[in-house]
């Protein structure tokens, strides 16, 4: 069973600061997805990365996939209170194409 480790577990910052959260795996990712979950809601997909070394940008969010496809990072520039939430990484179970394994998440709080 693949283990996904996310760090840090908690992060509290001031509005305007930059931050990076990480997702590491005990084995190679098939493909990796990042979700954001706001309080009282279900997770919502932010991005999928597939190729080692891939970088994707979504406004102020930059997602990086490690060359060896065993790690990924999410960098947020000039964080805003609306970025507050639980950030989850998930691996699509190799071969199945439909089952996701989730990390425990990073709980981000951006204070005004």
């Amino acid at each position: 069973t693949q283990l996904l480790e996310q760090s840090p577990q908690f992060l509290s910052i001031q509005e305007g600061e930059n931050l990076t959260v990480y997702c590491n795996s005990s084995s190679v990712f098939s493909s990796l997805q990042w979700y954001r979950q706001e309080p009282g809601e279900g997770p919502v997909l932010l991005v999928t990365v597939v190729t080692g070394g891939e970088v994707k940008k979504l406004k102020r969010l930059t997602f990086q996939f490690g060359d060896a496809r065993k790690d990924s990072s999410l960098h947020i520039t000039a964080a805003q209170p609306g970025d507050t939430g639980l950030y989850l990484c998930a691996d699509v179970a190799g071969g199945s194409n439909y089952k996701l394994t989730f990390g425990k998440g990073t709980l981000l709080t951006v204070n005004p």
């Binding site: 577990q9 098939s30 493909s31 997805q33 979700y35 009282g40 809601e41 279900g42 997770p43 919502v44 997909l45 999928t48 597939v50 989850l88 998930a90 699509v92 194409n97 439909y98 089952k99 996701l100 989730f102 990390g103 425990k104 998440g105």
Partner: protein, 115 residues
């Protein structure tokens, strides 16, 4: 709006009671899932279904049952509720060709407390 609808949003059960958590999707997705989310523990898969009439156990199936008689509906049944089943339950769906690209669509969850 199209998506995954879960009912109820909140429920308090007494130990030993039973209930059914409802989940419906209108996106014609083949795959449906039930997860539970406990603080600091992430999402754990309870049961999943790859199509009507087909279900399979996930990581934490004990104490739960599911059925999938239609593409749209995937109810989760709790028999003999226990305090360990206090959690937030999420239903999700995905298409047979789209999980790797489009991910899951989640409902907004059911917060269950067993007392």
């Amino acid at each position: 709006n199209a998506g995954v609808t879960q009912t109820p949003k909140f429920r308090i059960l007494k130990i030993g009671q039973s209930m059914t958590l409802q989940c419906a999707q209108d996106m014609n997705h083949n795959y449906m899932y039930w997860y539970r989310q406990d603080p600091g523990m992430g999402l754990k898969l309870i049961y999943y279904s790859v199509g009507a009439g087909i279900t399979d156990k996930g990581e934490v199936p004990n104490g739960y049952n599911v059925s999938r008689s239609t593409t749209e509906d995937f109810p989760l049944r709790l028999e003999l509720a226990a305090p360990s089943q206090t959690s937030v339950y999420f239903c999700a769906s995905s298409s047979s060709t789209g999980t790797a690209n489009y991910g899951y669509t989640f409902g907004s969850g059911t917060r269950l407390t067993v007392v």
